[in-house]
Amino acid sequence: MIFVAVGTQFPFDRLISYVDAWVGQNHEQGVAQIAGGEYLPQHLRWERFMPATTFNQHLQAAELIISHAGMGNIITALENHTPIIVMNRQHALGEHRNDHQLDGLEWMGKLPGVYTASTQDELYALLDRRHELQAASAAPDSRRQALADFIDQAIRT
């Protein structure tokens, strides 16, 4: 099962329609969280928003997550040891306030278990080899601990 999620802040019709068409052509199963999108999926099951418990159930059932390039879904996918494909929103298409998702794409692609696409072709190329996509084995930890420890120290001084 493929789980597509675009966050709660803005719609992302382009991503939803690409995945919906692919799922239709390839007879795959999928669930989409589409926010305020105008495009209504024909092949994916969909909801605009879902309570966290439902969201987590889909996340855990999914073999692959496809998402806008937002940190929430990336961190959650890493923690669930599920591979994730992210596509950046484009400011020029009115998909976000700025292009920080594009700025982030390069480093996101270096994270284990995270795959990036900025076009439909790149997305489909990844989907065609979906069974080869690897999940991260463990979330990186030492940098997070260092930051938390510094915050602790900074509060106390």
């Binding site: 709660t8 994270l111 997070r144 915050i151």
Partner: protein
Amino acid sequence: MNAPPKLLAISSPGGHWIQLTRLCERLEDRYSIIYAMPNTLFNSAATLGGRKVYSITDVSADDKWRLIPCTLQVLYILLKERPQAILSTGAAPGAVAVWLGKLLRIRTIWVDSIANVRQISRAGRLAQKQADVFLTQWEHLSDGQSVLFKGAVL
């Protein structure tokens, strides 16, 4: 034994909140943490994980008028809870908290979202002069003085 110091952790929902809570997990044994976040339909007890979370009005660059209720709510939380420090990962509600923290002489710590790779976030720039400690999660954005790099959630 003294009670652990109180920390107010505040952010926008979504990625900011995920980053904030992942940092706070590492601080929960050392602090009594109070949370504040704009409430949305999708937050349930599961997202919040049993944490004490004040709901505040969401504010962003697109709807500045909401600054007023948001500011009043954060002020109320600060006066009621009297935290020793404020920690935020952004965005606008965190900047509000940092400004109020400065006024009330509460120590403030900003961690700019890891999503901001090329430059400090807009809300971060608004908070930068007021925050006591200003952190980026990218070494190349640090100047070693006013913007520090000390680690990252990933």
